[in-house]
């Protein structure tokens, strides 16, 4: 189980592959992941950049709690959360959640749980810069269910 908060651009595949290298090959049959990417349109407006603020210390703790909660509900072999903070531009990955399990039901349900829990419990906030030069705090998430 691992949680990474990263500043600057990151490659989700590399994080997932490096984490997977620590697992026993053939032990897991299912890997489900989700990558959240910054879009260039939000709420109908063109967005040119975004800054992610977080609460160092609480963020890591809350992400670890979320993984623990998932491990209580599903039979998981491993889980990984990587979340970017600081300034970024459209097209760049914001978050990666990956779950490894024996069977696909656990992986599918747990990876979705991780994302929904992250979006409601982990202290991150997005500030967008619009094409017209103004900036605004994002005030709510898109519904996940």
């Amino acid at each position: 189980m691992a949680v990474h908060i990263v500043e600057g651009s990151f490659d989700p595949n590399r994080y997932q592959a490096e984490h997977e290298a620590s697992l026993v090959a053939g032990s897991f049959g299912a890997t489900a992941n989700f990558i959240g990417t910054m879009r260039h349109i939000n709420e109908g407006d063109e967005v040119t950049g975004m800054t992610l603020e977080h609460y160092p210390g609480m963020t890591e703790k809350e992400l670890e709690n979320i993984i623990s909660d998932a491990c209580e509900q599903w039979r998981l072999i491993d889980a990984l959360i990587v979340h970017r903070v600081g300034p970024m531009t459209p097209g760049e990955p914001i978050v990666l959640t990956t779950v490894w399990s024996m069977h696909r039901k656990d992986a599918f349900e747990a990876v979705r749980f991780l994302m929904e829990a992250l979006k409601s419990r982990a202290p991150f906030w997005k500030k967008e810069t619009l094409a017209n030069g103004r900036s605004r705090w994002v005030e709510k998430n898109t519904p996940g269910y």
Partner: protein, 77 residues
Amino acid sequence: MAIQVKFFASLKEDIPDALREVNSEDVATVADVWAAATGIKEPPAHVVCSVNHSHEPVTHPVKEGDEVAFFPPITGG
């Protein structure tokens, strides 16, 4: 005797002059910390609170050495 107080995101911008420390003898709950730090009687309904990195309601008790944080709704991911 001190309680550390943190504000994040839009809240930090909206009340830039709020105190970052309050006296633990003056406050009993998270709501008291808000009032002492901001001079505003109650936190707005959308404000989220934490004590020592755990989500807590405004009625949660506080004590010396605690770190209390206030922030707008979470929008990560």
